[in-house]
């Protein structure tokens, strides 16, 4: 019997090695798998490359991961925020490397990794500093920049509902990077608010089919609020 349910975030992350590349879901705090991130800090993995839209907010989640000095490099589109002080400090001190990627290019590089695409041309960033040193090509009447996929060892994402085959649905804008990150990692771990029996997710409404998901760990919203 296939059973992708794992009892705890710690158990779900037990094999994450130092130096892993990790796609971390979320846009700001929406969709950020906070309990999985906490478990990653507790595990003490070091030298991580983290891919996220941002670079942490306030004290929890990705900000805490940076503060705990687990992160060597961040690939993101929007690190600077009013409450990104942990990133700001680590970046200014030179201990944290930043690869800044336009948001749509970040999404497409992740999607390309999951979809088996070798590289793609995008019009975004042509003629700007973020395309410096990159191969470009004129196709028709437009100029494009060559971009490569972002493959990862793990994806840590947050979904709303999951079954033991790993089928997932999401909640509103917390969906953001979840579905494409799930496709792009060798091992995708989803934190879900609710687990359900097979068949209880309408097949027409499955957003991430279980083929992209290796482990599902339940962290209910009630438990989150209590904590």
């Amino acid at each position: 019997m296939i059973d992708k349910f794992v009892a705890t975030p710690a158990a779900a992350l037990a094999d994450v090695p130092d130096g892993a590349t990790i796609l971390l879901g979320g846009f700001g705090t929406a969709g950020l798998p906070e309990e999985l991130t906490d478990a990653l800090i507790a595990r003490g993995a070091k030298g991580l490359t983290i891919v996220n839209n941002n670079a942490g907010n306030g004290e929890g989640g990705l900000a805490a991961l940076i503060a705990a000095k687990c992160v060597k490099k961040i690939i993101c589109s929007f690190p600077r925020q009013a409450d990104s002080w942990h990133f700001d400090k680590a970046y200014r001190s030179g201990e944290l490397e930043l690869e800044l990627v336009p948001q749509g290019t970040l999404a497409e590089r992740i999607r390309a990794a999951g979809a088996g695409i070798g590289a793609f041309y995008t019009p975004t960033a042509f003629g700007t500093k973020l395309a410096e040193g990159k191969e470009t090509r004129r196709i028709g009447d437009r100029d494009y920049v060559l971009e490569f996929p972002i493959h990862a060892d793990y994806a840590l994402i947050k979904a709303e509902r999951g079954d033991r085959w790993g089928n997932l649905t999401y909640r509103m804008t917390a969906r953001n990077f979840g579905p494409i990150m799930a496709m792009a990692a060798r091992c995708t771990i989803a934190q879900v608010n609710e687990t359900v029996e097979l068949g209880q997710i309408d097949p027409e409404a499955v957003v991430t089919p279980g083929i992209f998901v290796k482990r599902v760990v339940k962290v209910s919203r009630a438990a989150r609020k209590a904590a």
């Binding site: 839209n53 003629g127 973020l130 909640r171 509103m172 990077f177 979840g178």
Partner: protein, 217 residues
């Protein structure tokens, strides 16, 4: 002369957005445009984090932080709204499906280059977000910004001194002093703040402007 305030600027932008348009409003000043779409005009707002059909701000106490806009502020969803993942969201942007985007800017050049993501200062932390995708992707790129910097120099320039967000992509500029079209033959003044004379506007702006009384919209 009376400068337009932020709400007057937003109302002026909203006036140009027609029924049925799909629109992305950038973070900050452009977000105000949503409050000025005339009642009864159906305009569908997109936010790059993965939502179409954004409604008004939620009532105090009714915020749900799983339902936010690109500025990470809580929003509501209109009946008919939809959620989608990031690659689809940027497919909508890059794939030329959005009718308008409204961006803030540090500078816009006579040829329609825009700089809005980085001051280039050595200790500045850069952040680009979706600005570069919006600049190349939206069918019409509208810029909303103050006409002058705090030091009083024109933000409309011959060449941007800050790093570019996109080249030759801006269609129209809305400032607190004027509405200006970017065309192949240069900048054309469409509208001016109440009581502002063209000569004065030209003096305040760093680059040559075209103006015909009959061109007034």
């Amino acid at each position: 002369m009376k400068k337009m305030d932020r709400n007057q600027m937003a109302a002026r932008v909203a006036r140009d957005i027609p029924e049925g348009a799909y629109v992305n409003l950038g973070i900050g000043l452009p977000t105000l445009v949503a409050n000025h779409i005339p009642a009864g005009r159906e305009v569908i707002l997109h936010s790059e984090n993965g939502v179409l059909g954004i409604g008004p701000r939620p009532a105090k106490g009714a915020e749900d932080y799983d339902l936010i806009n690109a500025g990470k502020e809580p929003v509501t969803l209109l009946a008919g709204g939809a959620f989608f993942h990031h690659a689809d969201s940027f497919g909508m942007i890059r794939g030329r499906h959005l009718d308008f985007c409204v961006l803030g800017a540090f500078q816009v050049s006579v040829s329609g280059d825009i700089a809005n993501w980085h001051t280039g200062a050595p200790d500045a932390i850069p952040a680009v977000g979706g600005a570069m995708d919006l600049a190349v992707g939206a069918k019409k790129v509208l810029v909303m910004m103050e006409h002058l910097t705090k030091e009083g120099t024109s933000k409309i320039v011959e060449r941007c001194s800050y790093p570019l967000t996109g080249a030759a992509c801006v269609n129209r500029i809305y400032t607190d002093l004027a509405v200006i079209d970017v065309r192949a033959d240069g900048l054309h003044v469409i509208d001016m703040a109440e009581g502002l004379e063209f000569d004065e506007l030209q003096k305040l702006t760093g680059v040559p402007l075209h103006y015909r009384e009959t061109a007034k919209a």
